[in-house]
Amino acid sequence: MHSKAPANLPSKTPKVTLSARDLIKVYQAGTVEIRALDGVDLDLYEDELVVLVGPSGSGKSTLLNILGGLDAPTSGQVFFRGQQLDLENDAIITEYRRKHVGFVFQFYNLIASLTAQENVALVTEIAEAPLTPTEALSLVGLGDRLNAFPAELSGGEQQRVAIARAIAKQPDLLLCDEPTGALDSKTGILVLAALEQVNRELGTTTALITHNRSISGMADRVFRFGDGRIVETSINAARVPVDELVW
């Protein structure tokens, strides 16, 4: 068991990677207004791994998308390392995603025409201080499947390629929306282990959405969502190693 600069240690003053203030996202569905986010305040610290849980439709994905610069809030601000992000400016947020953010989704979204290695190289080619594709793939345990096309990989392997692709540029922020959602528990564990290892070894701030409460144990902090708000924040005194998680 180990714990490395978690946010709950007051002895150190950890740096804030990302903060959100009073985020509101309203969807207009016909005459009905859906408040997907209803005033969310949040700080994510360097090196920490947080898990977002909550019922379906509570606004988890909406928040993650806004934090990652895929979507703009109806109101509210997002600060990256203290600098406010202009989420309406396509050029700025493209640059933000390109330099600082890594994404992992439920559906792996690999480029079918590129091999595993090439899928990773896709990102390293446009990054500033990337890992090599081989390093990134080795990190997720796929050092021996470099030249496989997505069609030749299992679901779990595809997801690990997606993680390698997300972390290869050494992002400041790794956002994962139900990365194990399409996987069985054994494969899911492999994928989570990869994420945890990346967080530990590269110190990447990681936010992970899951429906599986037992996964929360691996986090430094857990945010519980309800009706567009964070209804509860709990701090784990210690992170449970992935292979000890009860699925």
Binding site: R97, S113, V123
Partner: protein
């Protein structure tokens, strides 16, 4: 409405851009088909109606002087129904407001009754009175060109005597639908006029009382034309007959029939290209639609919808697109057909115009295009029908890509990832890549093949008027004269050089084949008419024997060294065997040349000329024209500059309009192919591109990946299209080749350039349209779902 039908309309609305592009390509194909078929039919119907109503003759014979009583003998020929004896003479006309001399055909008409054959359509005024020998009719286009009306007068040199003639009416005749003057290549209403005069008046002018020099015949249906021609020739030979010809060889009719043939070849070449591309696009779009909807198809089948219902569902989708194209194409084709027919009515002068396209043209065109679209739909429809419900519900795994062979792998090594994506997309579906590139190249080819007409015409003008004909003016004499006239002519104002030529009407025989053609005698060291072959190299004139154009050699089946029997049809009418000394290739006509002196020796008429070619000083031309107009021995004058201008004008104008349409059609083709390709790529790869945006790629970078594929396909298509365009041009030139013209296949580099530029412009336009969708790509919704 049944929900499935509502789905068709939603799909159509969603895919409206693609459906519209396909419909427009169908419309282009149908448009060209309906245009050429309906113009062809209008031309056929109009000609037929005109010929029938105005008794166009079946056979024509030219003689020198035949006594009237021979008519009875001619009437006795088996198969001859009617004979119209008349006088036809060439003479120069002088219209006061027009400086140049004008060539005229003077044709006699009976005084007291309408001609039995080649009747006139009186367009204005009245017929000449038999008591007034100076009253004439002139042909309408000639009158229009000079703003002449009944009541005006023209002057003419009839048999050396200047006459002032009173125009009393304007007319058209089936004999002069295509009114082309002697020695010219196309109708020039300002420089060639047809004049009808009373029989007695014209006979008096040419000392042909109780005689005729030209006869028109009509035959009983089913008469053996060859034997009738032979019988006529037998009778007329002693009166200076130069051989009767059938209607098929009558110059005006020949041109009309030739035009109909060309329309037929347009109808058979262009539409199939468009319909084939439409079929391919239908296939591509439908295949994608069925693939996206395979889960729905499976679901519907699980609910109990039959395979046939599902197949019919997608067939309806195709039929609606096709029907839209057909209807637009019908409208376009009707309108273009009408325009083209009016254009013909301008070129060919008809007193009546029948433009009533039969419904079968429309039925035929619709059947063909719907057939083509259905063939295109077969694959996708069969896929939809054969999808088992369970299979359809299974989510697809990522599309498989092949590993490269080591050679390609080495190549790919050097590419960045986005370029690799393009590269692999292109190679993943080689057939689709090939067909798309072929579609692009088809539009380049259509452009090259249509734009090349301008090159061909330029080349022909250059070849004929600049390289061969160095003279400014060609003067034909009424009768062969001693070469002393060269000196007389040289003394005329402004004349700088003169050469005597000789043209002799003859019939050339080789074995069973024969052909009428003038044998032209050129001086050995002539500088004003320089012969060269199609490749531009000078052809020396043999001292003895015939120099035969390859077109004529083909007609006769004769080769170098063969002795051709030359039956001279004038003067002492000698029949001599002359060896073919050389054969050369020409673009225009089927000429036969001989050295001037050698020809005259053959004729036993030394130093005679009837064709003078000259170069003159342009500053003196006014004066020169005035003088020539007064020369009694001149039968006609052809000015080179006027001929070139006319060539440019007549062909250039119509050609430009046609080219405008082909450019529009070809752009539609390129647009349709590329737009559909990009939209389908976007649909197949939208998710991938959204992912790349999420990874931080800019809009420009993903545009590169999407449009890169289309760009590669276009770049493959461009050179391929140039090659296909060249082949198409060769093929079309063969279809358009006639005895009069051989269309040279010369394609300027700029023609290839313009063709590719037009297609590139289309490509950019379609990319711009798709780019709008690319920018609107919704990152979140794409990532939320499985494909």
């Amino acid at each position: 409405m049944h929900p499935l039908n509502r789905k068709i309309f939603r799909d159509l609305k969603r895919l409206r851009g693609q459906a519209f592009a396909i419909a427009m390509i169908v419309a282009s194909g149908i448009g060209v088909l309906v245009m050429s078929l309906s113009a062809m039919q209008a031309l056929t119907d109009t000609t037929q109606a005109y010929y029938e109503r105005y008794q166009f003759a079946d056979v024509f014979a030219v003689t020198k002087r035949t006594p009237m009583h021979v008519v009875r003998e001619l009437e006795g020929i088996d198969g001859v129904r009617t004979i119209e004896p008349r006088i036809v003479q060439y003479a120069t006309i002088d219209v006061e407001s027009f400086p140049e001399p004008i060539a005229g055909s003077f044709v006699s008409i009976p005084e007291n009754h309408p001609p039995r054959l080649n009747q006139l359509a009186l367009r204005a005024g009245r017929m000449p009175l038999d008591t007034e020998p100076d009253e004439i009719l002139i042909n309408e286009p000639f009158a229009e060109a000079h703003a002449l009306a009944p009541g005006d007068t023209i002057e003419a040199l009839l048999n050396g005597r200047k006459r002032v003639l009173n125009i009393v009416g304007l007319a058209l005749s089936p004999e002069f639908v295509y009114a082309i003057g002697p020695g010219t290549l196309m109708p020039d209403a300002a420089r060639y006029g047809v004049v009808w005069m009373g029989q007695k008046a014209l006979a008096a002018a040419y000392d042909l009382d109780h005689a005729f020099n030209n006869a028109a015949f009509s035959l009983w249906p089913g008469s053996p034309i060859a034997s009738v021609l032979r019988s006529i020739d037998d009778i007329l030979e002693k009166y200076g007959g130069i051989g009767a010809i059938a209607r098929d060889d009558q110059i005006s009719n020949w041109f009309v029939m030739n035009e109909i043939e060309q329309l037929k070849s347009i109808a058979s070449i262009m539409p199939p290209i468009f319909l084939a591309v439409a079929a391919f696009l239908t296939n591509m779009v439908l295949a994608r639609l069925v693939y996206i909807e395979r889960a729905e198809i499976g679901l519907l089948k699980a609910f109990g919808y039959t395979d046939v219902t599902m197949a019919w569902h997608y067939i309806k989708f195709v039929l609606i697109i096709c029907a839209a194209g057909v209807i637009i194409g019908w409208g376009l084709g009707y309108w273009l057909g009408h325009w083209m027919t009016t254009m013909y009515a301008d070129l060919f002068r008809f007193p009546l115009l029948v433009f009533a396209p039969r419904y079968d043209i429309y039925v035929l065109s619709a059947t063909i295009s719907i057939g083509a679209a259905l063939i295109g739909a077969i694959g996708a429809v069969r896929f939809a029908a054969s999808l088992p419900p369970a299979e359809a519900m299974r989510p697809p795994s990522p599309p498989a890509f092949r590993h490269h062979s080591s050679l390609l792998a080495g190549l790919v090594e050097h590419l960045d990832q986005p370029t690799r994506i393009i590269f692999r997309q292109v190679f993943r579906r080689p057939l689709r890549t090939l067909l798309t590139s072929l579609g692009v190249s088809a539009s380049v080819a259509v452009l090259v093949a249509s734009l090349q007409w301008l090159d061909a015409i330029d080349y022909m003008i250059e070849d004929y008027f600049t390289n061969q004909q160095r003279q400014d003016i060609t003067i034909s004499l009424v009768e062969a004269a001693n070469t002393d006239v060269v000196n007389d002519l040289a003394r005329l104002p402004g004349i700088q050089a003169v050469e005597p030529h000789r043209a002799v009407a003859a019939r050339l025989h080789f074995g069973p084949r024969y052909r009428r053609e003038a044998v032209i005698g050129l001086p050995q060291n002539g500088e004003l008419e320089v012969l060269h072959d199609v490749h531009g190299s000078r052809v020396p004139l043999p001292g003895n024997g015939l120099l035969v154009s390859s077109a004529m050699a083909d007609i006769l089946g004769a080769g170098v060294g063969d002795a051709v029997i030359v039956e001279v049809l004038e003067g002492r009418r000698p029949i001599v065997a002359i060896e073919v000394a050389a054969i050369f290739e020409t673009l225009i006509g089927t000429p036969v040349y001989m050295e001037f002196e050698a020809l005259n020796r053959t004729l036993n008429e030394p130093e005679r000329t009837n064709l003078l070619v000259a170069v003159f000083d342009e500053r003196q031309q006014q004066h020169l024209y005035e003088t020539i107009k007064e020369l009694p021995t001149v039968a006609g004058v052809v000015l080179k500059r006027a001929a070139i201008d006319l060539f440019d004008q007549t062909i250039g104008e119509t050609m430009l309009i046609m080219i405008f349409f082909y450019v529009a059609f070809a752009s539609t083709l390129a647009f349709g192919v590329l737009y559909n390709n990009m939209r389908i790529s976007l649909s197949e790869r939208g998710r991938e591109l959204a992912t790349l945006r999420v990874l931080g790629f800019t809009n420009a970078e993903i545009a590169y990946m999407l449009f890169g594929e289309a760009a590669v396909l276009t770049l493959i298509g461009l050179p391929l299209g140039c090659l296909l365009g060249w082949l198409l041009a060769v093929f079309m030139a063969q279809g358009f080749n006639t005895e009069l013209f051989r269309i040279p296949v010369v394609i300027e580099a700029s023609t290839y350039g313009y063709s590719m530029l037009v297609v590139l412009t289309s490509a950019f336009a379609s990319a711009l349209l798709v780019e709008r969708r690319l920018v609107r790509l919704n990152l979140i919704s794409v990532l939320k779902t499985r494909e």
